[in-house]
């Protein structure tokens, strides 16, 4: 286990300074810093979706585009080590399942399907605070996770498809 981790660490250090795969070292350094800021901004837009403009869909696209930035500057293999395809598929399904779970819990605890049971019965909260509006922040988090990982998956699959096409053209 230690040997594998050492190998993957050296592989990442090589791809950091390697000139062939990805872009120059200035672009790689800046994109590491900027990726963290974009990711944090996306989480802010998803989490405060019931107070400020934005919501789940816009925040999810911002989360996906932070990973696309890494994919453009470092190459596909670097990002695929951090967030491989099976794990991303599972996260996508978790997001969709959480959204359906919020709707079904409305049927169980409230009266009808998809009713806002947290606001009307258990946890009203105060308006204009983070904990308010019942199940709306939970739905926003589920949709943000789902949309972000879905767009990341599409870009990763397209990149693998194109790399495979150019390989078969060379043969």
């Amino acid at each position: 286990m230690g040997q594998e981790q050492q190998n993957s660490n050296t592989a990442q250090k090589e791809s950091f300074s390697n000139g062939v795969k990805g872009m120059t070292i200035i672009v790689k350094t800046i994109s590491i810093w900027v990726k963290v800021l974009i990711f944090l901004f996306g989480i802010n837009i998803v989490l405060f979706g019931h107070l400020t403009p934005g919501g789940g869909f816009a925040g999810g696209v911002i989360l996906a585009s932070s990973y696309v930035l890494l994919m453009l500057s470092f190459g596909r293999e670097f990002v695929e080590e951090n967030l491989p395809l099976p794990l991303a598929s599972k996260l996508d399904c978790v997001g969709a399942f959480m959204f359906a779970l919020v709707a079904i819990l409305g049927l169980v605890f409230g009266g009808s399907f998809f009713v806002n049971f947290l606001y009307q019965k258990y946890l009203p909260g105060q308006p204009l605070h983070l904990i308010s509006a019942g199940t709306i922040p939970l739905s926003n988090i589920a949709i943000g996770l789902k949309v972000g990982v879905s767009l990341f998956l599409v870009t990763l699959s397209l990149s693998m498809f194109k790399a495979d096409l150019s390989e078969t053209e060379k043969e």
Binding site: H50, G54, A103, N116, A133, T135, I136, L151, T155
Partner: protein, 183 residues
């Protein structure tokens, strides 16, 4: 009002350039310029939710378009347009435009929808009682996730299914060529 006309003319000119130019990279950039013009229009129409979503989707789809369509050996579109097809399309568009002119007379003025004058219509109820019914300060989030949550569930299902279809189509040739067994 003049800023809307300027942005509309900008978007129409960008669309014409995107269709007519022979260079593929210029065409993709003009398609993206249409999206940015649309997002500016949403901002001037006081809809920041849609403006944010339009900007980020435009940037991401620009990246995906460039990755998907531009390769190193094909950067120019060649070929002529056929004459009969062009004439038929122009005639059909002109007929639809004439029919649309008659319908445009019956529309209300810009900025005053019909149901804004009726006090008991759903849009006025959502605006007045949105905060106390749902507790959310963002009325758009209250509408799409509480009042009309079922439609959002349908939209999330459509997004999930389309991404699933895209990944299945894009994935299996790569797996086969790389030598891994198909699961």
């Amino acid at each position: 009002m003049t800023i809307f006309y300027i942005l509309l003319i900008f978007m129409v000119v960008a669309a014409v350039i995107a269709v007519e130019t022979k260079d593929l990279l210029s065409s993709v950039i003009c398609v993206s310029a249409i999206g940015f013009g649309g997002s500016l229009m949403f901002l001037f129409l006081r809809a920041p939710d849609i403006a944010i979503t339009q900007v980020v989707v435009e940037v991401l789809s620009l990246i995906i378009l460039i990755r998907a369509t531009i390769s190193r050996d094909l950067t120019f579109i060649t070929g002529d347009r056929e004459f009969f097809g062009t004439v038929v399309s122009v005639v059909i568009i002109f007929v639809i435009f004439l029919a649309g002119l008659k319908i445009l007379d019956t529309l209300p003025d810009f900025g005053t929808p019909v149901f804004a004058r009726v006090a008991e219509s759903p849009s006025q109820i959502y605006v007045r009682k949105g905060l106390e019914d749902t507790g959310a300060a963002n009325i758009i989030a209250a509408i799409i996730l509480d009042y009309r949550g079922y439609d959002t569930l349908g939209e999330a299902t459509v997004l999930f299914t389309s991404i699933l279809g895209a990944i299945v189509i894009l994935r299996s040739p790569a797996r086969k060529r790389l030598g891994e067994p198909d699961k």
